[in-house]
């Protein structure tokens, strides 16, 4: 994929990565709650060079009717990448990868949302990736949690997500696109920090049991950093500069 630079140094002797970060340093993250007038809840995230917009509708009537569940509400997630989000034009129809990520994000959000309060309804989450640079599923999940909270959907906790991985035999936090292509392992983690529960864990690559444990620990610590930014985004929208 793309013109990978064979001479690129993923990690130099001082522990500095290819984009100048330290091994446990995430990219710059900016989250904004709200912004879309017609959606019931929305959020925008900039996660390094990733730019993602999320809109949430509901709870609302389920169409088609046969999808509704009399015991609980249902969650529907659509993850979609814009044709201009990557270097070469991406065909806009949902790809195998997008369908899978939609399912993965849906299943990562389900433990958090309390849809049993709204039987026979649906909550729709629309995720549009405007610009992609590795780690979009984590950024999308993070933004989707904020958008759900903005829509007033009751949640046990917000899901924060970040990827850790193994690059140049070292466990690093927040794998970017270059590291993902050339690195050895990539592990996206979704985590509910208040409840201390993991809702998403994937792994692409090979790790020893010790590396695996370290990778999860690094990822969970990263999620706590992301969580603070999610809380700040909601505080800024609803409470402005008023503090407790």
């Amino acid at each position: 994929m793309g013109g990978r630079d064979a001479t690129m140094v993923l990690l130099d002797e001082n522990g500095i990565r290819c984009d100048g970060r330290k091994i446990d340093e995430p990219r710059k993250i900016v989250i904004k709650a709200g912004g879309l007038k017609n959606a019931d809840g929305s959020a925008y995230i900039e996660f390094g060079d990733n730019k993602i917009l999320v809109g949430v509708f509901g709870p609302r009537d389920v169409h088609p009717k046969h999808m509704s569940n009399t015991d609980t509400g249902i969650l529907r997630v659509r993850y979609h990448m814009e044709p201009f989000s990557v270097g070469e034009r991406k065909r806009p129809a949902p790809s195998r990868r997008e369908i899978e990520i939609s399912k993965v994000i849906k299943e990562a959000l389900e433990p958090a949302v309390m849809l049993e309060k709204f039987p026979r309804t649906a909550v729709d989450v629309f995720i549009e990736v405007l610009q992609a640079d590795g780690g979009t599923r984590c950024a999308a999940l993070t933004a989707a949690s904020v958008a759900l909270a903005d829509a007033g959907i009751p949640m046990r906790d917000m899901v924060a997500a970040i990827a850790s991985g193994k690059v140049a035999d070292t466990i690093v936090l927040d794998v970017n696109n270059e590291e993902d292509q050339a690195g050895q392992a990539d592990m996206p983690i979704g985590y509910m920090p208040s409840l201390k529960k993991i809702t998403l864990l994937q792994l692409d690559g090979v790790l020893t049991p010790e590396e695996y444990k370290k990778c999860v620990d690094v990822g969970v610590k990263g999620c706590e950093v992301v969580y603070e930014l999610q809380k700040k985004a909601l505080h800024d929208k609803y409470f402005g500069n008023r503090s407790n």
Binding site: D40, P119, G152, R156, S194, Y238, R242
Partner: protein
């Protein structure tokens, strides 16, 4: 009385200890955790969070404003600004001796009509059943519909109805507030109508301001002089 008000978001620990979790909080171990964005209130033995966002969820005995969207031969369906549709049986309007042969539903309520109604029954298995057989309920003949956020309805009513009384006295308008965030303003004079409408929109936008009552009072007086 409530004390220790706090701004909370989902996942925030409101407090810990032997409290009864009420609206919008869950008990997790020993901690009480908020499930919505809102303001937490801790009482002597219970904790609740007043939400700042979200849709209206019907509650039995709530007064709501509904808009007729369709009807079958036995009932009307009303949009009550919720995720569920309000169900108004024809028997409620025509009385006991209602018959599908002699009575035509559209003679009483047409699609698009506004109705002041009360939630008669609601549980998670069925759509909310509403009734208009009570004093002050029924079809709304004149007035302007103003939509506000559901979470700001208590602010518009004020303590013991102080806010709404002030707006009504200041403009000579009759205001019907539905718990679902729909408000109908009726007034003889066009000036009073627009002023009352403006006041309600002001409450909706500035609900968090502490001395809102004075602000609204100033606004109401100000126009009188000009």
């Amino acid at each position: 009385m409530a004390d220790k008000r706090k701004y909370v978001i989902p996942g925030d620990v409101v407090t810990s200890g032997p409290f009864r979790p009420e609206q919008n909080v869950i008990l997790e171990g020993n901690d009480i955790i908020s499930t919505v964005v809102g303001i937490s209130e801790i009482y002597d033995d219970s904790v609740k969070v007043i939400p700042l966002t979200g849709k209206y969820l019907p509650k039995i005995d709530d007064l709501v404003i509904g808009k007729v969207v369709s009807h079958t031969s036995l009932s009307w369906e009303l949009d009550i600004n919720s995720c569920y549709i309000g169900f108004l049986p024809a028997m409620d309007v025509f009385g006991r001796d209602f018959s599908t042969h002699s009575d035509e539903l559209s003679s009483k309520l047409k699609t698009g009509d506004l109705v002041a109604a009360r939630i008669a029954n609601f549980d998670r298995t069925r759509d909310p059943l509403i009734t208009i057989s009570d004093r002050d309920l029924g079809k709304i003949d004149d007035g302007v519909l103003v939509q506000i956020s559901t979470s700001k309805v208590p602010r518009l009513i004020g303590k013991k109805g102080s806010m709404i009384q002030m707006i009504e006295n200041g403009t000579n308008a009759a205001v019907t507030i539905g718990q679902n965030g729909w408000v109908v303003v009726a007034c003889e004079s066009a000036e009073g109508l627009s002023k009352a409408k403006k006041a309600i929109e002001m409450v909706n936008e500035k609900a968090h301001i502490a001395n809102l009552t004075d602000l609204i009072q100033d606004m109401l007086n100000e126009k009188d002089e000009s």
